[in-house]
C-alpha cells in the first residue's frame, strides 16, 4: 500500500477561559499578570473546611457558547471530582464535569479555502483550572495559584478532522466564535485558549487507530506543525510494521516527544462532587440573545450579498474584519466592490506589513467613499489605487480623492483630446480603417496620457470609435 492511503483522524480538546471577573468557585479575581499567589483565598488554596460555590456568570457564558454551537443542554448536569496529586492542584482534585456535562453534541461550521466543513462536537463541560508550576533553577518548582479555580469550558470535538489545516481552521473558527460571543478573550499566549490534539491514522473505512494525545500546542502554528510531525511519525511506524503506542506526547520546538514518567498512567477516580448540588440552568440563560455568529454571517454574505464562499470566509475570519466590512456597507459601498477592496487591497497591504485589520490606518468610511466613487464611475481603477495609497499614508478620503482628481467625462474635452491624437497619428488611423482594430488601444493610451489618465474609459471608447467612423474615407 502507498503512504497516501492512510487517513488522518484528529479530534481536538480545547480549554477556553471564560471571561468572568472572579473564579469559578470563589470571589478571587481572574485578572492575568498579577503578582504570584496574590489572587488567592482559603477556597482556591484548598484550606480545610472551605467549600466551592458556583459562579453563575461562568455558567451564563458557557451556556451562550453551548447554544451558539447548537448543543443539547440537559435540564440537570453534575460536577465531579477528578483526583490526582500535583502541587498546583490545591485540593488534590479538580472540580469538573464527567459523566453528565452541561452540553452534549453541537457542531461548528468551518470554511476552509472556500469549502464548507461541519465539525461535530462530542460535548462541552465546565471545570476549574489548576495553578501554574514553573520549574526554575536550583531544582525548585515555583507554584502560582492565581490561576487555580479560573473558570474553563472544555470543548471536545469528535474525531472528525482530517488534516492539520482542518484542525487549524476549526480552532480559528472556535476562537472567533468565543470572541464574538464575548465568552472568552481567546488569547493563546496567555493561556486563555489552549488546545490538545488526539491524532491517529487508519486505512480508509477501517476502525479508528491507536491515538496519541499531543500537548503543549501554544499557537496555531504549533498545532499544525505538531500534527504534521505526528502524522509523519505514525505513518513511518505503521509502514515499518510497528504499532502506535497510546501515549501523551509534548510538542518540543521541532518534534513531539513522549511525556516523561508515569504522568499518563493516572486513574482519576472520578466521583460526583458532593459539595455542589446538580446544576440546573436558569431560563433566562436559555433566552439570552446571541449576536450574529461567524457561520451565520458567512452564509448571509454568500446568500444575501452574493459574495463567493471564499470572500465570505476571509471577511468573517475575525470580528474586526467583519466589523470593517459591515461599516463599509453601512457607508453605502456595494458588497462585492467592498469585499474586493477590503480583502485584496487593504488586507493585502496589511498582511505585507504584518498588521491586523484592527490596526488598519485606513478607516472603513474612507475606504467606502473611495469604493462609492469607483462604482459611480468618477474614479477609474487606476485613480482609485492612487487614492488608496494616499488613504494608507494617512490622508482623509476627501483629501485623497481631491488630490487624484476626477475622471474626465466632459464630451467636449474628450472630443478635443481625441481629435488631437487622431490628427497626430494619420498612419494608425489609416490602419484602423484598413481593418486593424487593435490600434484602438494605442489611441486610448495616447488619450489617457494627454488627460493624465483621468479620461472616463467607457465614454472615451465610445467617442473614439465615433470619431474614427466619422473619419472613415468614403
Amino acid at each position: 500500500m502507498t503512504a497516501s492511503s492512510w487517513e488522518v483522524v484528529i479530534g481536538l480538546e480545547v480549554h477556553c477561559q471564560l471571561l468572568t471577573a472572579t473564579k469559578l468557585f470563589c470571589g478571587c479575581s481572574t485578572r492575568f499578570g498579577a503578582a504570584p499567589n496574590s489572587q488567592t483565598c482559603p477556597v482556591c488554596l484548598g484550606h480545610p473546611g472551605v467549600l466551592p460555590v458556583l459562579n453563575a456568570e461562568a455558567v451564563r457564558l458557557a451556556v451562550r457558547l453551548a447554544r451558539a454551537v447548537g448543543g443539547t443542554l440537559p435540564p440537570e448536569s453534575v460536577f465531579s471530582r477528578k483526583n490526582y496529586f500535583y502541587p498546583d492542584l490545591p485540593k488534590g482534585y479538580q472540580i469538573t464535569q464527567y459523566e453528565r456535562p452541561f452540553c452534549e453534541g453541537g457542531e461548528v461550521e468551518v470554511s476552509l479555502r472556500g469549502v464548507r466543513l461541519v465539525v461535530p462536537l462530542t460535548r462541552i463541560h465546565l471545570e476549574e483550572d489548576a495553578g501554574k508550576s514553573t520549574h526554575g533553577g536550583h531544582g525548585l518548582t515555583e507554584v502560582d495559584l492565581n490561576r487555580a479555580g479560573t473558570p474553563l469550558v472544555e470543548i471536545v470535538s469528535e474525531p472528525a478532522l482530517r488534516s492539520s489545516d482542518e484542525a487549524a481552521a476549526y480552532l480559528e473558527e472556535l476562537r472567533n466564535l468565543v470572541r464574538t460571543l464575548g465568552v472568552s478573550d481567546g488569547h493563546l499566549e496567555e493561556g486563555s485558549f489552549r488546545c490538545d490534539a488526539n491524532v491517529s491514522l487508519r486505512r480508509p473505512g477501517a476502525p479508528l487507530g491507536t491515538r496519541v494525545e499531543l500537548k503543549n500546542l501554544n499557537s496555531f502554528t504549533f498545532v499544525k506543525k505538531a500534527i504534521d510531525y505526528e502524522v509523519a511519525r505514525q505513518r513511518e511506524v505503521l509502514e515499518e510494521g510497528g504499532a502506535v503506542i497510546q501515549e501523551t506526547r509534548l510538542w518540543d520546538e521541532r518534534v513531539t516527544r513522549p511525556m516523561r514518567g508515569k504522568e499518563d498512567a493516572h486513574d482519576y477516580r472520578y466521583f460526583p462532587e458532593p459539595d455542589l448540588l446538580p446544576l440546573r440552568l436558569r431560563s433566562e440563560w436559555l433566552a439570552d440573545a446571541l449576536p450574529e455568529l461567524p457561520g451565520t454571517r458567512r452564509r448571509r454574505y454568500v446568500d444575501a450579498l452574493g459574495l463567493s464562499q471564499y470572500d465570505a470566509e476571509v471577511l468573517t475570519a475575525d470580528s474586526a474584519t467583519s466589523a470593517f466590512f459591515e461599516a463599509m456597507l453601512a457607508a453605502g459601498a456595494g458588497p462585492k466592490a467592498s469585499a474586493n477592496w477590503l480583502a485584496n487591497e487593504l488586507m493585502g497591504r496589511l498582511n505585507t506589513e504584518g498588521r491586523s485589520v484592527s490596526a488598519s490606518p485606513v478607516a472603513p468610511q474612507d475606504l467606502a467613499a473611495l469604493v462609492v466613487r469607483t462604482q459611480d464611475g468618477r474614479l477609474s481603477s487606476k485613480l482609485a489605487k492612487e487614492a488608496f495609497s494616499r488613504l494608507w499614508a494617512g490622508e482623509s478620503a476627501a483629501a485623497a480623492i481631491a488630490a487624484v482628481g476626477e475622471v474626465v467625462s466632459d464630451s467636449a474635452a474628450l472630443e478635443a483630446a481625441i481629435a488631437d491624437v487622431l490628427g497626430a497619428s494619420p498612419d494608425e488611423v489609416a490602419q484602423f480603417h484598413a481593418g486593424k482594430t487593435k490600434v484602438v488601444g494605442f489611441f486610448v493610451g495616447r488619450i489617457m496620457k494627454a488627460l493624465q489618465g483621468k479620461a472616463d474609459p467607457q465614454l472615451t471608447q465610445a467617442l473614439l470609435l465615433a470619431a474614427l467612423e466619422a473619419r472613415r474615407p468614403t
Binding site: 482559603p42 460555590v53 483526583n83 518548582t141 477516580r269 458532593p274
Partner: protein, 456 residues
C-alpha cells in the same frame, strides 16, 4: 432557651466553666482559650443583651475558628491556624455565645471512641474507665462534665449521637444541608453535618435554630423546602410515632437499651402519641455501604493534606517522596486505613463493584426510610447497641464500626436524628434515638422533650 444561665452574665459563665473544667481530667479539650473567652465575655457584658449571652460554647476541633488552632485531631494539622470561622460557630457567636475552646475528636472525625485522636483519648466523665464515644467525644464529655451547656459536634455516621449516648447528653444530628458545613474540616461531604450537644433538648434546639439555614459559603445549605410535607405538629397529641421493631429486637442489643426504647414508647403513648410498630431497613447493608462511601469521599477530601501549602511537611528528595513521608507521618492508622480503602474502592476496575454498588444501596436505604416516614412523624430507635465500652476494650476496627450500626442508616438517608438520654443501665447512661423526615427537627424536639421530662 430555658432562662439564660448565670443571670445572662457572660463573664460569670466563663469563670464557672473554667472552674468546672479544672485541669480537664477527662481531656475533653485540645485547647482552652482562657484569655480570649474572658475578653469576649467582658465585651459582651458591656454590650446589649443577646439571646445566647451567658452561654459558653465548646467547639469540636474540626470546626474552624479564626485564630485558634484547628487540628482535626491530626498530627498533620497540629499547628494549623485558620483565618476563617465556621458559619455554625459564627452564628452562635453572633447571638452572644462565648467560645471556651476546641474539643478532642477522632482524627478527621474517623472513629467511634475518640481513641483515634493524635493527641490522646478523652475519658467518659460518667465513668472514667469508659470511652466517651466518638468522634465528637470531647464535646460530649465537656457537656457531660458540666463544663459548658453547649457544644458543637459533627456527625457523619453517628459522631454526635453515639458520644451523646455514651455520655448521657442530648445530641442533634440535623438534616444534611440544614446547617452550613462551611468551616467544617470535611470527612465525607455527602454525609457530614454540624450539630449541637447540650444537657437539654431545649438548649440544643436553641443552638440549632441559630445555626440553621442557607449560607452563601455553602451551596448545599438550604431552607426546608416549601411544601415538603407537614410542618411541625403543635402537640404530642396524635403524633404518629413508629417504633423500629426489628432494630429494637436486634441480636446483641443490650437489655438496658431495649428497655429504654420500650419505656420511651410507653412514655410517648401515655403523653397522647399514636404509637405503632414500623419496619426500618436492616442496618447491616447501610453499615457496609457507609464503609465504602465515606472512605471514598475521605480519600478525596484528605488529598489536600499534601505538605505543599500548610500543615506539617516531611521533606524528601523528590515530590512523590515528600507526599509519601508527609502523609505517612501525618495520618494515624485509622485515617490511613480509610484513605487507602477509599482510594481502592474508587479505582478503575473496582469502582462499579464497590462505590457504584454502595451508591445503589444508599439510594435504596434512603427510599426505605422515606417510605417508613411517610406513615409516621417520628421513628423511635436505639442509638447504640449498649452502654459505653471500656477504654481500649475494642481493638478490632470492625467492632468499633458496629457501634454505629443504628446511626449510619439515618446518615445515609440524610435524615435528622436526635439522641435523648432517658436513664441508666449498669450505672451508665442509656437513651434513644428519634428519627424524622428531612427538616423535621422541630417534631423530633417535641417528642424529645417529653422523653427527657421522665415520668412513667
Amino acid at each position: 432557651m430555658s432562662g439564660a444561665p448565670h443571670g445572662g452574665s457572660a463573664l460569670a459563665a466563663v469563670e464557672a466553666a473554667l472552674s468546672a473544667l479544672g485541669d480537664d481530667p477527662c481531656h475533653a479539650f485540645l485547647e482552652v482559650d482562657h484569655d480570649g473567652a474572658r475578653r469576649r465575655a467582658t465585651a459582651l457584658d458591656a454590650g446589649p443583651a443577646l439571646p445566647l449571652r451567658g452561654h459558653v460554647l465548646a467547639v469540636k476541633d474540626n470546626l474552624a475558628v479564626a485564630g485558634l488552632r484547628c487540628t482535626a485531631g491530626s498530627r498533620l494539622l497540629a499547628d494549623y491556624v485558620p483565618g476563617h470561622t465556621a458559619t455554625a460557630v459564627e452564628r452562635l457567636v453572633a447571638q452572644g455565645a462565648v467560645i471556651l475552646g476546641k474539643t478532642n475528636l477522632d482524627e478527621f472525625g474517623m472513629g467511634s471512641s475518640t481513641e483515634a485522636s493524635a493527641f490522646g483519648p478523652t475519658l467518659n466523665p460518667r465513668a472514667l474507665d469508659r470511652i466517651p464515644g466518638g468522634s465528637s467525644g470531647g464535646s460530649a464529655a465537656a457537656v457531660a462534665a458540666g463544663v459548658c451547656r453547649l457544644a458543637l459536634g459533627s456527625d457523619t455516621g453517628g459522631s454526635i449521637r453515639q458520644p451523646a449516648a455514651y455520655c448521657g447528653v442530648v445530641g442533634l444530628k440535623p438534616t444534611w444541608g440544614a446547617v452550613s458545613r462551611f468551616g467544617l474540616v470535611a470527612y465525607a461531604s455527602s454525609l457530614d453535618t454540624v450539630g449541637p450537644m447540650a444537657p437539654t433538648v431545649a438548649e440544643a434546639m436553641a443552638a440549632f435554630r441559630a445555626m440553621r439555614g442557607p449560607d452563601p459559603r455553602d451551596a448545599t445549605a438550604r431552607e426546608r423546602p416549601l411544601g415538603s410535607g407537614p410542618s411541625a405538629p403543635a402537640s404530642i397529641k396524635g403524633l404518629r410515632v413508629g417504633v423500629a421493631e426489628g432494630w429494637a429486637a436486634a441480636a446483641g442489643l443490650h437489655p438496658g437499651v431495649r428497655e429504654a426504647v420500650a419505656r420511651a414508647a410507653d412514655r410517648l403513648a401515655s403523653a397522647g402519641a399514636d404509637v405503632r410498630a414500623v419496619a426500618l431497613p436492616e442496618p447491616d447493608a447501610a453499615l457496609a455501604a457507609y464503609y465504602v462511601l465515606a472512605p471514598a469521599e475521605a480519600s478525596s477530601n484528605l488529598a489536600r493534606y499534601d505538605g505543599v501549602r500548610y500543615g506539617a511537611r516531611v521533606p524528601a528528595p523528590d515530590l512523590l517522596g515528600m507526599y509519601e513521608r508527609t502523609r505517612s507521618a501525618g495520618f494515624g492508622p485509622e485515617v490511613r486505613r480509610r484513605v487507602l480503602l477509599g482510594t481502592f474502592t474508587l479505582s478503575a476496575g473496582y469502582k462499579d463493584a464497590y462505590y457504584g454498588r454502595a451508591q445503589g444501596v444508599r439510594a435504596a436505604v434512603r427510599a426505605a426510610f422515606l417510605q417508613c416516614l411517610a406513615g409516621v412523624d417520628v421513628v423511635l430507635a436505639p442509638t447504640v447497641p449498649g452502654p459505653a465500652p471500656r477504654l481500649g476494650e475494642l481493638t478490632d476496627p470492625v467492632q468499633l464500626y458496629l457501634l454505629d450500626v443504628f446511626t449510619i442508616g439515618p446518615s445515609l438517608a440524610g435524615l435528622p436524628a436526635l439522641h435523648v438520654p432517658t436513664g441508666a443501665a449498669d450505672g451508665l447512661p442509656v437513651g434513644v434515638q428519634l428519627l424524622g423526615a428531612p427538616f423535621a427537627e422541630e417534631t423530633l424536639a417535641l417528642a424529645g422533650e417529653i422523653l427527657e421530662r421522665g415520668g412513667p
